[in-house]
């Protein structure tokens, strides 16, 4: 099929289906296999996998940068790299790990899991989802192309202006930084809108907000934070770009500019960003711990609302990054207090995890080990965080390795451990293979030891006064031993990552067809491993929190737990016919539109005519996208096609199980009820949203 110029899929009131007229820019992609299908896919699961794989590649690159830093600092007067290279390496290490590893890794989990956990067939806007991914990867590559084009960014991941103006860093590095992050910011913003609409709007019948799995909740809070934080950094990056490229005066102190403007804008984004990085990881361990403790999550509503509370309070603490900048005693006192307060909902979470573990039948799988490690290591990071809230102490700690120790404990010990817990936990779901537990334990042990070896000594170094961001240090400062230990630890972490990679590669010998290897609790385990393109053959109707658990287990009269004999999967064997599922078709347009952005970016840096080319691609791409129906009317209508935004068949069978509108789903109606075939195709299903992009 070729591109069509109208929206022929929707049924008009006349009942007529207008005939599409092909415009014929691209042939509509049809393949579902081979590398080309990955370029055009709009399946949230494949996009999630692409996010994960690219983020892991960037993790390897960011890790190599960390190794260079630690090699340089292993001994006094290090000679591995010169000062300029050192600046570039630590800038790119931080930028990579925050924007190109943890954020996309959590986007990977959110993309893959939110639709599965809420019983939807795809995200709300599948093509926008693909667009987000391409923006992220192209933004990352744009940023890294600076290494080949005359120098990487060298102003730190926080890029404090006026320090990053052209008079202080004359290479194009910071231009690449500002524009590259602008592009990945578009990825995050579009992704946030998409996932918010998905989670709010596409829940299966009966999936009330307080029955949503906790990971979905925490990811949702993080998407709201992204939604409101990204525009602030967008403005900051624009102002920086205007100053650097067009001689504006926003940070030009000679023109009377305020050097604190950047710090405020950056940290109003930057502190919510911290919670964007850690809340989904909290969500992951909140899924993992109950499964391996064989208990429901202790205090689920408290977990939800403490996450929401963190989301709100995260907006009121940004100036604790600026205690040493002279913002005045009132501000310092206010932000000290708010920073101490935000430890409260975080503490609620810690205690709820402990409460979940308490008295549980614990199974220490690798995923569980990482989850428990998050609880303990993040607590250490949280405690050192509270010491920063005490502003007199913070004034002492600012710009020392104590800060470096703190944020590695929360971002590595928090986010990354959560991510690895999630990888071990959901790997069999995504790939139908198990990661080896024995090798996994080796990975875990090495990573835990290496992590503490690398970052704990930094607390001491910081309190001894060793400053951050210095390429070398002199002998005789008393810093030699701890630096050596930290460097050894960094290499142990690298080794543990190699073990992980080996485990992933080796997993191809470890195929499992078990859709539910952990005896888990949420809906993604009720479908096959890996799930079919359309996720569920039958649309689930949800009656409980931890729906899948309640479908598997019941209590007898004496309150003893027993496994039901009639457990029914929602996809795969014995699930019933999937019927006629309309899913949106693959598309080239998201990639085309995304390619326009780095083109414009190179134009801004080098030559404005490239901006024109980029704008042309952008505009053409947007119109091509709008005119392409999201469901290819000529495509097949079966399983083998593609996921749909809202493909609930219109026939009543699918949406009318026993529970009726007045009988809310708390009814004890056992959930097997809805094993009603979803729609032996009475009528074309919905029509995917072709208006998905036209208005923006």
């Amino acid at each position: 099929m070729a591109i069509t110029e109208e929206r022929p899929v929707l049924e008009l009131t006349t009942g007529a289906e207008p005939e599409p007229e092909p415009l014929g820019v691209f042939a509509r992609p049809v393949s579902t296999k081979g590398w080309r299908s990955w370029l055009t896919t709009i399946d949230h699961k494949r996009i999630g996998i692409m996010y994960g794989v690219s983020a892991m590649a960037f993790f390897a690159i960011g890790g190599l940068e960390a190794l260079i830093i630690r090699a340089q600092l292993a001994q006094p007067n290090g000679q591995v790299v010169d000062e300029q290279t050192y600046n570039e390496i630590f800038t790119m290490h931080g930028t990579t790990m925050v924007f190109l590893v943890i954020m996309p890794m959590l986007a990977a989990f959110a993309n893959y899991l939110i639709p599965l956990q809420i019983g939807a067939r795809d995200v709300a806007f599948p093509r926008l989802n693909a667009f987000s991914f391409w923006c992220f990867i192209l933004g990352g590559l744009f940023l890294y192309s600076s290494f080949l084009l005359g120098g990487a960014p060298d102003g730190g991941w926080f890029a404090y202006a006026p320090n990053t103006l052209t008079e202080f860093t004359s290479s194009h590095g910071m231009d690449f930084w500002a524009i590259g992050l602008q592009i990945t910011g578009i990825a995050s913003l579009v992704g946030a809108i998409n996932l918010i609409v998905t989670a709010l709007n596409m829940r299966a019948p009966g999936m009330t907000l307080l029955r949503m799995p906790i990971f979905t909740w925490m990811a949702l809070v993080a998407q709201f934070l992204l939604l409101f934080a990204i525009p602030v950094i967008t403005v900051a990056l624009f102002l920086l770009t205007f100053d650097r490229r067009f001689d504006a005066n926003f940070f030009n102190v000679d023109a009377g500019a305020d050097p604190l403007l950047w710090q405020h804008l950056f940290w109003i984004f930057g502190h919510p960003e911290v919670y964007i990085l850690v809340l989904p990881a909290f969500g992951i361990v909140s899924e993992v711990i109950p499964v391996f403790a064989r208990k429901p999550l202790f205090g689920y509503p408290f977990m939800v609302f403490s996450g929401v509370a963190i989301g709100f309070m995260g907006w009121g603490v940004w100036a604790h990054h600026m205690f040493a900048s002279g913002i005045g005693p009132v501000s310092v006192a206010a932000f000290s207090l708010s920073t101490m307060f935000i430890a409260v909902p975080t503490g609620v979470k810690i205690f709820n995890w402990i409460g979940t573990l308490w008295g549980g039948r614990l199974r220490f799988t690798t995923a569980m080990c990482f989850a428990v490690a998050l609880v303990s290591q993040f607590t250490i990071g949280g405690l050192s965080g509270v010491t920063h809230a005490v502003s007199p102490a913070d004034t002492q700690q600012t710009d020392t390795y104590y800060i470096v120790a703190h944020f590695h404990y929360v971002l590595f010990g928090g986010s990354m451990f959560g991510i690895f817990a999630g990888l071990y936990y959901w790997f069999p779901k995504a790939f139908g293979r198990l990661l080896d537990e024995r090798i996994g334990k080796i990975h875990f042990a090495l990573m835990l030891i290496g992590f503490n070896l690398a970052f704990f000594p930094m607390h001491v170094l910081g309190l001894q006064g060793m400053p951050r961001r210095q390429a070398t240090y002199a002998e005789g400062m008393g810093w030699d031993l701890n630096n050596l230990l930290a460097s050894i630890g960094a290499f142990v972490i690298a080794l543990s990552f190699l073990v992980f990679v080996y485990n992933v590669v080796r997993s191809r010998n470890n195929v499992t067809a078990d859709p539910d290897p952990w005896d888990a609790r949420t809906l993604e385990w009720a479908t096959s491993s890996p799930p079919p393109v359309h996720n569920f053959d039958v649309e689930p109707t949800v009656t409980h929190l931890d729906e899948w658990w309640h479908r598997k287990y019941a209590e007898d009269e004496e309150g003893r737990l027993h496994r039901r004999t009639d457990v029914q999967l929602l996809a795969g064997e014995g699930a019933g016919e999937a019927g006629d599922i309309h899913l949106p078709s693959p598309s080239y347009w998201p990639l085309v539109v995304a390619v326009a952005l780095p083109t414009i970016g190179y134009g801004v840096v080098y030559s404005y005519w490239l901006c024109g080319v980029g704008a042309f691609i952008l505009l053409g791409g947007i119109y091509g996208w709008s005119l392409e129906p999201s469901v290819d009317p000529g495509g097949a209508h079966g399983h083998e096609l593609e996921p749909g935004p809202e493909p609930e068949p219109t026939d009543e069978l699918a949406t009318a199980p026993e529970a009726s509108a007045d009988e809310p789903a708390e009814s004890e109606a056992a959930a097997e009820a809805e094993a009603v075939p979803a729609g032996a195709g009475s009528g074309p299903s919905a029509s995917a949203a072709s208006g998905e992009e036209g208005q923006a």
């Binding site: 806007f125 525009p231 602030v232 403005v235 403007l261 809202e646 208006g691």
Partner: protein, 211 residues
């Protein structure tokens, strides 16, 4: 919304039948597209919030070079162009109403009028910018000039995008792709348009009127 779609029975959340053009129901009852636009506009608030804050930060700083922006304002002129922009919100609503009634001709007329009013506003802004530049208030002149042009320029860019959307809608309407059943497309474009107008009210008040 009319109720020609098959009613959905099922569970406690979805009680309203879906609008006819969306042959599916959603958990909130809002269509995905409309909800996405609302969410996006929430994000836009922060974008303009940050820009306005930047302008306010620099408004009262000493001007080291060139004129200050307050000396240049032509309040009567800007009031007229603001009025033009506000009137475009009215025509936008009329366009939506006509589309919902299936009156394609009026719908096109009002959409075009809205686009025209928006264009007049942008033209006024271009005129204002050129006048300011001629009076020595260039983009790089001083703190105020940078922040003034970036703030109002971002708003002007939003209006321009809105005009492109409106013109696309007119083309859609001409091709018969905008029947009453799809009036929501106009409604969503209208949400964006009204938002851009509301932002101008804030900018006009804060930037031009309050000194």
């Amino acid at each position: 919304m009319s109720t020609t779609a098959a009613p959905h029975v099922g569970h406690d959340e979805v009680v309203e039948p879906a609008p006819p053009h969306a042959a599916h129901h959603t958990s909130t009852g809002l269509s995905n597209e409309k909800l996405a636009m609302w969410v996006f506009l929430g994000s836009e608030c922060l974008l303009f919030g940050a820009l306005i804050s930047t302008f306010l930060l620099y408004r009262n700083r000493p001007v080291l070079n060139g004129p200050s922006v307050a000396e240049l304002y032509d309040i009567p002129f800007t009031s007229v162009s603001s009025f033009v922009l506000l009137m475009s919100s009215l025509t936008m609503v009329l366009a939506l109403s006509a589309t919902q009634r299936g009156d394609a001709t009026r719908s096109r007329i009002w959409l075009l009028t809205t686009a025209l009013l928006g264009s007049s506003f942008v033209a006024g802004q271009v005129y204002e910018f050129t006048t300011f530049v001629r009076e020595g208030f260039g983009f790089t002149t001083n703190l105020q000039s940078s922040s003034f042009y970036v703030l109002t320029g971002f708003h002007g860019a939003h209006v321009t995008i809105g005009i492109l959307i409106l013109l696309s809608l007119v083309v859609m309407s001409v091709r018969g792709a905008l029947p009453a059943a799809r009036a929501e497309t106009v409604e969503i474009a209208g949400l964006y348009w009204h938002f851009v107008d509301v932002v101008w009210i804030v900018i006009f008040t804060v930037v031009y009127l309050i000194r």
